[in-house]
Amino acid sequence: MSNVPVDYRSQLLSGLWIPNILKFSDMLGPRTGNKHYKVLSLASTDNEHLEVRNLVQNGLVFKKKDIHLWTYTHLKALRLVDSGCRVMAPSRYENTLTQNPQSVEAEFPFQIINLDFVSQDMSLESGRAEREIESIEATFRLQSENAQKPHCGFSIAYTTLLDSLPINCYDLIQRLNSHHRDGWSGILTKDFPPDALPSAVKTETIQRLLTVMAVKYGYHVLGFEGLLVGDVYSIVVGAK
């Protein structure tokens, strides 16, 4: 049984997300009143919008309409309308980005992306983590392809559950490599364990894959930091 502390989000917000997003945003350049930060965040099912409040309080967002909340059912989308944020509700994030990314392409790029999959009514079946990571690869791709010149940077936070199932790195890397990019030679499967299972191995695998994906799409990694809260692992990467 996985250990998901009830207050994991507030711990992650104060201990990881906000400090790192602030750090990376300072590195990306000075923010002025008319420089809007566009945010994408997976809306948690409890509708508490904790991250929205924190982003506003920390001056990272000037208008709530700059925040896009992602959900995946019509009813959940209705419940988000009164948040004051923009609502996107095609289907589950990992499914849309891997199967139908063109349906949301026009919304990209964002300056802050919060992909907290733990808040999303997770189904703990085989292949879950792999789909999440593949959707992050698609995220980097959409960010890069829709970035305005000069190439703008962003912070991305990925939060997942370290459950008892291993990450099938072999299959995952095959799928990641199937998204071709000129000049990119691909990820070598021999550089990764075939199945990443112990938490320490999983977290290291996630860190390496995320940084490799950033480089694949022409980003320079400004830095990254991870935090484990119970069985919930979160990493924030800054990319420019």
């Binding site: 929205v52 019509h74 209705l78 309308v81 009164d82 944020c85 923009r86 095609p90 289907s91």
Partner: protein, 556 residues
Amino acid sequence: MSAEQSAKPIETGEIEVQVSRDIVSHLSFGIYKNFARAIRELISNSYDARATEIRIGLDLESNPPRVVVRDNGVGMDKNDMENRLFRLGNVTPFTDNLDDLGRKRIGQFGIGFLSTFPYCERVVVTSKKEKEDTIIEVSAETSAFFQGETFNVTDYKAPFSKYNSDLPIEKGETIVTLESIKPHIVKQLQRTRSQRSKASIESFDGYEKFKWTIAQFAPISFPPDRTDLREYFEVKGRTPLRVWLDGEELFRNVPADAEILQKGEQSFDNIDVKYVIMTPNKPVQPEEARGLQIRVCDVGIGLPTDFDVIKLRSRNLGRLYYLCGEVQILKGIVPVKIDRDSLSWTESVEKMEIFFRDQLTKLNEVLEKEAITDKAVRSEIEKLQDPEPLLEELESLQLIRYPKSRLRMKKTAKHTKQRVQPEPAKTLESVFKNRGFEVIADDDVASADTLAIEVRANEKQVIIRENHPSFKEYVTVLNESFEVNYEDWKATPSLDSACKIQGTKVTFNPNHPVFQLNLDVEVLKKLIVGVIITVDKNPRRSELCDQFYRLLMDMF
């Protein structure tokens, strides 16, 4: 639509819309004058459904634009939709009985829901009843409910779908979605004003006007910093309602810095009311907030009213627009008109109106007198050296209520009889005492280094040093400055006996008839001194003083 978005319903069908033509036939879509008031009706419905939280979202940039009102009330199942929501014009008699949240029912006429129809093309109601595990969603095309400008419903069956619920079984929820908001409403709500004035809600941005109107009518709490109003109007055992608009919690509109002038409870036959009358010590803004807001079941009925006091009393009530407040009907059956913008006439309602007309008239007089007193105080203090810090201090302590701009101090009030011998210390003493401060008069000789007026806020004391140089009066004539004193002596019909000049001192006789003239006192003093200086060395001095006296008496 993806597979997840269109989750398969577990049941579909149609709900018959039933209309009580007696009520609905009297309606036109103009009866609800604006969109905010239609949303008020949805809030009232949620309140009656025992909601404690209502969240309103304006999603005007989506295509199509929509408004969503979501509550955590008891919710509805198919039966409730058929027999309550879609039985339009189904009158529920008003009752004084309380529900388990300590509230009285607001809705009566069964048309609140209908009031939203003119503003959108479709209304979708999604609801989960508490203790049930299914959600029902019903949609209605609003064009089926009115033709031209009148409501005219024939047979209509609204399609419904049922789904498995994603909420805990004990929770209830109702979401009303107004889809495809009419373009003119979207335009109104998105309107921005280049010059943002607060004088009237018509000068607000469209969104701010909408927010102000909802906050004015909804049965919500006073702002958190108005614990005085919250505690005064608190009803023990009543669960409050909270309303959010686009994530921001709304509170009742109260002008900033409004102080309570009067509060109380009254009975008018069978009607019991609790009221408060306030003033921010300046014109209430926006102007729509002037007067007293009547509330029935805590919901605002119409906009604040002055009970037609000016029209009916035929008087000029210059400070009426400084007054605002609330009249809450606590008990009693009060007839509310169908548009919920006014009360119907009864003898009890008329008695209530007369009472509040009287209160507004009396408080207008109180404010007028305070303004006159403030003027006098400011006049005296402005004669001191460096009066500004003292004025600021007195304003912060509410010893002066009105800013100078509200007192029309630049023009001389010709109708007011001026005192020849000003007594600033006495004027200030009485005002400060009336406003709750102890006044300590200090007769000792005071130098210019000391303060003429010293305020000790913590001890609520004011020290007035009557012999301070700042209180001394001077008159300057022909570039010469004279210290002014006053003394009574026998008056004769000559300027000679109105004034004596010795060196740099001038002594006036305040009881001399010349000071009864209809002429500004300060000007008169200078004139008298000027004349006496001019004729002083003249051999016909006495005769000239007599002649000037007669001239002044003839002219003024």
